[in-house]
Symmetry: D3
């Protein structure tokens, strides 16, 4: 059932290892900046993940969407909240977001079957 | 032969079912708006599908391209007309459209082998 | 001081009047859908404006950014929260977001000088 | 009244002269390819301009939109047809297309006041 | 080991054959223009491939990235140079480039195992 | 004559001052990363500016293009080399790059009239 998200997590980790082994200073610093941007601050991490998710959806990046869906699940985003994030992404980005929206709904359902 | 387009249609339908089951009011209304935009009007549906296709190509959305290719076939777009849609998409969008153009030509040929 | 945002509001209104006078059913329904997407729901309007803002920034749409900055100001987004929205937009969207970020910081300061 | 479109045409011509004076073989050949793509073929020039316009709108290029609006006017696109092109562009591209849509409606009205 | 890049080359060739068999004059001329743009000139082909690669990365086109990685390898781009191309692509394009960056690092390593 | 580029430089500096005064840690670190990415390394600064320029052109960011044109001029990019950068940007990004290309040619000519 939860195969596709687990395969995604595994592949992401393997490829990240190559990047962090081979990548130079700019790459490593960027990855650091990226990680820190989603930590609790004036906004809690949950809202920041929602911001990262809506940005990923309008830019139509499936891997980025999957990652922020996973983090959103961990941070306790509810179904109703997720539907509102999806709605704003769809209205802002238009029908070209739909293929990503379809996959996002399926991944979101799948995430409910996983224990952390 | 026509396996790839049929798998696309089946997956699209399955995922659409999840969206329409789980999605709220904004999502459903958007899907409605999207469907209605391509119906016969001042322009016939055939031309509207061509407009949707060229938009999908320059935005580089494979699923959107496949769907509008399928509809264009049903609406009777000819090979010569399709070549002109492809040409405008390529000139407007540039060489980054080429990977999508390659797949679109292959799907277009495949669609000729299917009966509706 | 606050001239540029007031000119933006005035021009936006004038042009919206043309769209709503001339635009057909699809255009009007879309505008409706767009307005409703940012109303209080599972997320308060303030968070929804933040979602709309980050989406507008990564898609690099100055008019959309200005509008959501204005709404964010009305909904009480703080300077610290705004800095976090800007940071996520910059990290997700990269240095091509910087010209829009520069203008957004200036508009945000300008908005503090206006009474509603 | 028709000042903004006439200024656009003049500036476009002046800048095109620089490009064609300074640009090398690839630039010149591309410009040639671009011009030929919109000539009468299996589709009449009018439909090709509509295809170019919808592509320009979803890619949010104001200069490209202005140019294709001008050509569409010359080719006899009706108000009803233009509304359908605008509707498809808005549905496909989402609310980030709206600022361009607003300006496009205004230019389209302005074009009606010009004699060729 | 080097399976994924070889499968990419084979599929690309097969699909290109369809395009060149079915495509009209505009398509063929564009392909020609595209090929010529990367030949030795004021800049050597190696630098031109680097330009094509960075453009492909910020536009997030995996097939384009793979092709320019392959050509860059043939033209003798070093690991240090590749890391700088990747760094600029990441800084300009932002974190949405990361999924493509991950795959690009893996393909770049894979290319070292192939003889031409 | 050289007014437009000088106004660009002045406005950019004024707005950057606001960003660096108001912006938090993530913003400042990103600006730092951005500056460092274009310094001499395995590739000389001149080539890195060319990479930044082509990326800015295909992403259609006028401010980014102006900045890299200015830096390219300082690093000694020749007219022939600039024409090749422009050609690759045009072929990769398509005709929607043309409005930016037109302005870039004009700015490039203007830059020749300025002493540093």
């Amino acid at each position: 059932m939860a195969e596709s998200i687990e395969r995604f997590i595994k592949e992401r980790e393997e490829l990240n290892n190559i990047v962090l082994e081979k990548g130079g200073k700019t790459i490593k610093r960027f990855f650091n900046l990226d990680t820190n941007a989603y930590k609790d601050g004036a906004f809690p991490a949950k809202i920041k993940e929602s911001l990262g998710l809506v940005a990923s959806m309008v830019l139509r990046c499936d891997d980025c969407i999957n990652y922020h869906l996973l983090q959103s699940r961990k941070e306790g985003v509810s179904d109703e909240e997720m539907d509102e994030i999806f709605s704003i992404a769809l209205v802002v980005g238009g029908s070209i977001v739909i293929p990503h929206l379809r996959r996002a709904y399926a991944i979101w359902e799948e995430l409910k079957t996983i224990q952390y």
